[in-house]
Subunit: 199 residues, 2 copies
């Protein structure tokens, strides 16, 4: 039926099953479990299939030779503006990798927090009330960054700017005043991203 453009085919169903398993357990199973998952009863054949997925970039190995997801494993079709007919076939997709949303936003898990936005003082920066701000915790920031600062024992999200040698916090909404902190400005972290749920 299908033309054998490659010398070797790899079964997209196998990949889907593995991805579903991973989605549930967040872990790549052992070869014996894989055999059950794929309906095979020979580990040797599992080994062969794993090699193909490895060559195709769907699986990889840690430095300690543990099986792990490869670069293309998390590809969720990033639908681009040009639309081809119907839904794209992820197994043949060429090109791009988009990973999980979490990975997209979080670089250092241990230093990343989420802050829920209150008020509309940053509305002109596209930051709405109720949005979740992805914040990388760090004690200092650069001018122009959107920072989460601690003012009067509360979080506040503002642009960090410099004014006459002193740091000030500028809202992105003309209805709000610039905050000129007396004394030291305590910075909780820098905005690294934003998450909004609309349904």
């Amino acid at each position: 039926m299908a033309l054998n453009t490659q010398k070797r085919e790899l079964d997209p169903v196998y990949l889907e099953r593995l991805q579903d398993y991973y989605a549930e357990h967040k872990v790549i199973p052992s070869y014996s479990v894989l055999a059950g998952l794929w309906g095979l009863s020979a580990k040797s054949w599992v080994s062969e299939c794993v090699k193909r997925f490895e060559e195709a970039g769907y699986l990889d190995w840690t430095p300690d030779r543990q099986l792990k997801p490869g670069r293309r494993f998390f590809e969720r079709r990033l639908a681009d503006s040009a639309v081809q007919a119907g839904l794209p076939n992820p197994a043949i997709s060429d090109g791009y990798d988009l990973i999980t949303i979490d990975d997209y936003l979080v670089r250092v898990p241990s230093k990343t927090s989420l802050v829920r936005v209150k008020g509309d003082s940053m509305i002109d920066a596209g930051i709405h009330e109720g949005d979740l701000l992805v914040v990388e915790q760090q004690p200092n920031a650069n001018v122009g960054d959107i920072v989460v600062a601690i003012v009067d024992n509360e979080f506040t999200v503002k642009y960090l700017e410099r004014e006459k040698g002193a740091f000030v916090l500028k809202p992105a909404n003309k209805a709000y005043p610039v905050i000129r902190p007396r004394g030291r400005l305590e910075i909780f972290g820098v905005m690294a991203g934003l998450v909004r749920r609309t349904r």
Copy 2:
């Protein structure tokens, strides 16, 4: 130094190291690798620590008794507006509100796609160029929804509105015209959320 309110402490540094390892490899390593990661040289002690993380919900086991991330493994601290002194200790914190970003945004993985936003036609809805739109694929939508429609073989993000009995696509930017599709309006999906990365 620290009061031993719990009979057993678990080292938050261990968890952070493991989370960072997982962020890099997407896999929980073996006990020997964990020993290296944590600077221990006895697997017996690794086993003990793993048990504590398991009891705390940070680690878990697959049905096949493989170690996997637990329910709290991906939790990120949702910092609320009221700030307590200093940084919260994620390992001992109680009363937290922790969520995972993927779960927050994606309800039905198999029907969820990401679409990168082009242009500023929805700027007044806080949707910027370059943002990733979380889209739940479905062929129809309600009036007022923000939809991703297919017009002239391209994705376009607009409000779905009704005008004289016909569906129209309204931008959230006065500089753009309302789109009145001739014939059937093809809807790719409905916006379920938004993701923006700013660094």
